[in-house]
């Protein structure tokens, strides 16, 4: 039970911060909606952990709902980090092309 209270406090802190940022126009409307959706889903998971446990069991997992969520999060993080790595590689390639063109143009002068 205390862990649920801590989780709820964290979620409420971030929701409050989100509404403050939106009020002060520090984030865009779409960004606000995305993070609102994200934290409301997190809130829903925390409030409905018991039914989710049953759902996860019914789906054939031996772990609890929170553990399954953890596994999914790790997989998602891996995917996002790898996507960023590939994106960085492409950016790196573009920087090299630009650097090369600048050097060639400078040599022509």
């Amino acid at each position: 039970m205390p862990q649920i209270v801590i989780a709820l406090l964290i979620i409420f802190y971030f929701l409050a911060k989100l509404f403050w940022q939106n009020k002060k126009r520090k984030i865009s409307r779409n960004e606000f909606l995305f993070w609102l959706f994200f934290w409301l889903v997190a809130l829903g998971i925390i409030l409905f952990l018991k039914p989710l446990d049953q759902l996860v069991l019914a789906l054939g997992f031996s772990a609890s709902a929170i553990q399954v969520l953890l596994y999914i999060s790790v997989a998602a993080l891996f995917y996002f980090i790898f996507s960023i790595r590939l994106r960085l590689e492409k950016m790196d390639e573009n920087i090299t092309k630009l650097t090369e063109d600048v050097a060639i143009n400078q040599a022509k002068k």
Binding site: E89, E93, T99, Q106, A107
Partner: protein, 220 residues
């Protein structure tokens, strides 16, 4: 036939002038690519008689060689030689490397440290790293050459126009070997001597090359 030598250089103010002065009488033009050195590499190379191109940000040896090759092709090179700035390659090996191209016997020539026993290579490198690199090249790239990481190479203008390597840093060596093997060009290896001043590529550097090759494959 006009022979251009491309030398990538990063913080080589101590060695580059000597290298340029020794190489210049043997060929038509030297292109030094200063990879955003912090020292006076650019000025020293220019004073010694090289054409100097400069990366405004550091992009790595592979990228510097690409720039030098591109410039050489735009400025009338018939044969392009890739050479090092640190004084480990011997300028007298340049005519050896270019001879099969001039004679029309090959399209690409690689200098090999393993065709004779003149190179005094560190033992760990010779007995562990090189056989491993040879295996990786053969297994992943289907390249069977005696020297798996030769940076001393020469090729004709026709090859240069079609040889598009994407690796900016040390993995360019393996990529060029692979592209040349796939390109169906006539390849020849000639013996060269390398004078080791430092250990060079470590085993961790080797792992980084494999990682770079893998990542680049995914972004094709």
């Amino acid at each position: 036939m006009k022979v251009f030598v491309v030398i990538p250089a990063f913080n080589e103010e101590g060695e580059i002038a000597g290298v340029v002065r020794e190489v210049l009488p043997l060929i038509d033009k030297i292109v030094v690519v200063d990879d955003c050195s912090k020292d006076k590499t650019k000025e020293v190379a220019s004073e010694a008689g090289a054409v100097v191109l400069r990366h405004s940000v550091n992009r790595g040896q592979g990228a510097a060689l690409r720039l030098g090759t591109r410039w050489s092709l735009q400025n009338g090179a018939d044969i392009i030689v890739h050479f090092d700035a640190d004084g480990q390659f011997r300028p007298i090996d340049i005519p050896r490397v270019t001879a099969p191209l001039i004679a029309g016997e090959a399209d690409v020539v690689f200098g090999s440290r393993f065709l004779d026993n003149t190179t005094q290579m560190p033992s760990f490198k010779k007995k562990v790293i090189m056989p491993l690199a040879r295996f990786v090249n053969f297994f992943f790239l289907r390249v069977k050459l005696t020297d798996p990481q030769s940076g001393f190479r020469a090729f004709t203008k026709e090859v240069g126009l079609k040889l598009h390597w994407r690796q900016d840093r040390m993995a360019h060596c393996s990529e060029i070997l692979s592209l040349v093997a796939k390109g169906g060009w006539r390849i020849k290896e000639v013996p060269i001597t390398v004078i080791y001043k430092d250990f060079g590529q470590s085993i961790f550097g080797g792992f980084k090359i494999i990682k770079d090759l893998f990542i680049k494959k995914l972004t094709k």
